[in-house]
Structures are given as C-alpha cells and as structure tokens.
C-alpha cells in the first residue's frame, strides 16, 4: 500500500540509531562474534590442511577440490542442507561460515607455500633442515604475505556472509536488514548496511596493521621498491 501522505521514511536517520541503540548493539555483537569465531576456526583448520597438501602433493588436488566443492555450494543451499540436521540457530551459521572461509585460506596458504623461492628451500635443505622444520621455520614465514592476503579476504567475505544467516534466524546485522525490508523501514536497512561496511573496513585495517608488525621485511621491501 502506498499513500501520498505516508509518514516520512528516510534512508538515514540518527533518530532511529538512538532509539534502537540496544537492538543494534546486540546485532552487531552477534555479527562480530560470529565473524571472529568463523575465521579463527577456519584458520586453525586451513593451516594443517594446506601444509598437508603442500608436503604431500598427491593430496593437494583432493584437499583443494573438497574445499572448492564446499565453496561452490551457495550459502542459502548450504544452510538449507545443514538446517534439518544442525537445527535452526547459531551452529548452522557457524559451520557455513567456516566452510566458506576455509577454501580462501587453504588456497592462499598453498599458493604462498608453493611460491617460496626454490633457492631458499634448497639452501635450507643444504643446511640440514628436515621437512617439518623447513615448513615451520622457512616456508610458512615466507608464505606469510599470501596467508595474510587470504585472511583479509576471508574476514571481509565472512562479515558480509553472516547476514545470510537470517534464514535460520542468526544473521547478526542481517536480521536488521531483513526486518527493515519486511516492515519497509529504510533507516533500519541502511544503518545495518553501513555498519556492515564499517565493520569489514575496520577488520581489514586491523589485519593489515598486525601483518605489518609481523612482517618487518615487507615494510622495508615497500621502501626499496619506492626508491628503485
């Protein structure tokens, strides 16, 4: 129903934010906790899987393939496949989010490990490094830029993906969006959208900052690139 004299329905309304402060904070908290948990679990799973795929090249295709199949399944379909078994709630969303972050991470870690200069691994082997020690002390640190890139993409994607959890009632800021759509409340949708973007941006910046601190050599390389 559309009437000419309907009350104003602005896209931006500070009034809405102030009035629904508690509501927004709760959705935001759910969003943040789901994102952090999902990325952390995915990283913990991805590191050994990628290392395994790297040290046993024969396993690389199945590992990446399986993660790829998981990734290809659309979020809505995955939630649809999981919900009858894991129930309507947080677990379903979390499993879905981890599944999606997993492929991005595994791919990036593998690319990073495979991109290590053969001269470096040769040198390490010549110094008597075993396979495990080489992996932990030589290859993984060298693969860090690629790993960090993966974590960035995974985090940003996860922030956006949490909203789909709305189909099982656990969508963080997505709940606000969907409710806003249902009740045609523009300010609610817009506020949730902006918060999502800001959240992703902050997360991304935080990761970059941590990465710079972890990889002093890449900082100096940026400098040398400029001077060259």
């Amino acid at each position: 129903m559309r009437l000419a004299d309907t009350p104003p329905n602005p896209w931006f309304s500070w009034d809405y934010v102030q009035r629904n402060h508690a509501d927004i904070t709760e959705a935001l908290g759910q969003h943040v906790s789901l994102t952090l948990q999902a990325v952390a679990i995915a990283l913990l799973l991805a590191l050994p899987l990628a290392a395994l795929a790297h040290t046993r090249p024969r396993l690389a295709a199945p590992v990446v393939g399986a993660a790829g199949v998981m990734y290809t399944i659309p979020s809505l379909a995955l939630f649809a496949l999981l919900a009858p078994y894991t129930g309507i709630g947080r677990t379903t969303v979390l499993i879905g989010l981890v599944a999606y972050a997993l492929l991005v991470l595994i791919r990036n870690i593998l690319v990073g490990l495979q991109g290590v200069d053969p001269a470096v691994t040769d040198a390490a082997r010549g110094m008597g490094y075993g396979r495990t020690r080489m992996l932990v002390q030589v290859e993984l640190p060298q693969a860090l830029p690629s790993i960090v890139a993966g974590v960035r993409v995974a985090t940003v994607t996860t922030v956006a993906l949490v909203t789909v959890g709305v189909v099982v009632g656990f969508g963080g800021l997505g709940q606000l969006m969907f409710r806003g759509f249902r009740s045609n409340y523009h300010a609610e949708i817009m506020t949730a959208t902006i918060l999502c973007l800001v959240l992703a941006l902050i997360a991304d910046l935080a990761i970059v900052t941590i990465a710079r601190w972890m990889m002093p050599w890449s900082r100096s390389r940026i400098l040398s690139d400029v001077s060259a």
């Binding site: 199949v69 379909a77 995955l78 649809a80 495979q114 956006a160 992703a200």
Partner: protein, 253 residues
C-alpha cells in the same frame, strides 16, 4: 533420515518440475538473471580493469574498492533495492552485477599488472605501441587470471541469485525459501541439492572453458609449478614472474 527421503520424494514428483514455478522454469529464470548480471558487471569491470592494469596506475585503489564492495552484503543490496521500489528480478540483477564486479576487476587489474616488467620492456624495445603491447603481450598473459575472474564471478552470481528469493525474486532459491517458510524441510533439502548441483556443474564447465582459453605456453608451464619442488624453466613467463611478482617473498635482498 526422513528428511532425506522427503527430499527425494519431492524431486521425484513430476509436478514439481513443470509449470510456472516448476524446477525447469525456475532454473531458466536463475540462468537468465545470472547471465544478465554477469554481462552487466563485465561491461563495467573489464574495461576499467584493463585500463587500470595497463596503466599500472591506481591498481591498489581498484583493489581497495573491490575489497570494500566485497564487504557489502548481498542481502543489504537486495533489501535496499527491493525496498527502494525495484521489485522482483530487476533488483536481483543489479545487486548481483555489483557483486560480480570485484572478482572481474581485481583479476583483470592483477592479471595485467603482474605481467613481468621485463617482458613489457622487451616489447617496448621492439617498438610496440602501448595498444599493441596491451593486445599482443599483456592481455594474452593475463588471460588465465581474467578467465578465472569470470569463472568466479559467474559461480558467485549463480550462488547469490537464490538469496533474492528472500526479497521476492524468482530463482531456484524460491524452492528453499518457500520450504523454510512452510517448514517442509524435505523441500528445503531438495532445493538445496538443486542449487548446489547447478553451481557445481557450472563450475566444472567453466573450469574446462578456462583451460581452453589459456594460451598453450602458459598451460604447459603451470603444471610443473604445482609440485613443491618447482623447477625453473628459463624463458617461460610463469617461472619468470615468480621471481619478481608482488607476492613472491624474497625478503633478503
């Protein structure tokens, strides 16, 4: 396990396949929306990506923009467009197109930008103009990455279109959303299987296309690069870029 047999019962019912809201009609709508969205995105992203990548300027900016767009939830765009008055599949096409731009743009920019400078310099030394360098050197070398971008975009859109069912679009997702709404989890599962199957088939087909599109020289050289003990084969572009590309480590020098 009852749900599983419900799902197969649903899939086996011919009435669910025909008609206006049958699986066949919904699949057609799904593919149509996907095609439109990807075309729309390609028209915007490919020229922009080629320009940015060729100029090797603003590459970081392009990637940052793409990253921020990635952070924009599809659900947000869908609900925004839908409540702004664009009902049905118009909102879906627009939202999915915006969603498809990042993979296309990033891959084109990095594909062109990661072409070894030495190769480009050599081409310049041979007297090639900027446009000729772009068409004959940079684009062929970037084709694998650009094709990968197109593939990602298509599969991503295929996977996103079902979400539009939440805001009134028609696609295979309609089956899932209707199932959730009526608490028929057999139907939900059946819809999930259909959507997942569509995406997996598309991914497989596109992987083949991508392989066919890749210039033969690049195809062969990419194989030994997979093993962890990569051998350097001189004169092959991939091995050459590995030593100077942006994500190749090499900290001590």
């Amino acid at each position: 396990m009852e749900i599983l047999s419900d799902a197969f019962a649903w899939l086996n019912d011919p009435l669910n396949w025909t008609g206006r809201n049958g699986v066949i009609a919904l699949t057609a709508a799904h593919l149509q929306v996907t095609l439109l969205a990807v075309l729309l995105a390609a028209v915007v992203a490919l020229p922009a990506g080629v320009w940015l990548g060729h100029a090797r300027r603003g590459g970081t900016l392009g990637v940052v923009v793409a990253n921020t767009t990635r952070a924009l939830p599809t659900l947000a765009l869908l609900t925004l467009f839908a409540s702004a008055g664009l009902f049905g599949n118009t909102a879906t096409v627009l939202a999915c197109a915006i969603f498809a731009i990042p993979p296309l743009l990033t891959n084109t920019v990095t594909g062109l930008g990661d072409v070894d400078r030495d190769i480009v310099d050599a081409a310049r030394g041979l007297g090639m103009s900027g446009r000729r360098r772009l068409v004959e050197i940079e684009l062929p070398l970037a084709v694998p990455l650009i094709a990968a971008g197109v593939r990602t975009a298509v599969v991503q859109v295929l996977a996103t279109v079902p979400l539009a069912a939440l805001v009134g679009g028609t696609s295979l997702g309609t089956i899932v959303v209707t199932g959730f709404g009526t608490q028929r989890y057999g139907q939900v599962l059946a819809g999930g299987i259909l959507v997942a199957g569509l995406c997996l088939v598309a991914e497989g087909l596109l992987a083949i296309v991508q392989r066919l599109l890749t210039p033969r020289g690049l195809r062969e050289s990419s194989r030994p690069a997979r093993g962890w003990r990569r051998q350097r084969s001189p004169g092959v572009p991939v091995a050459a870029t590995a030593s100077s590309s942006s994500n190749g480590p090499a900290p001590t020098r």
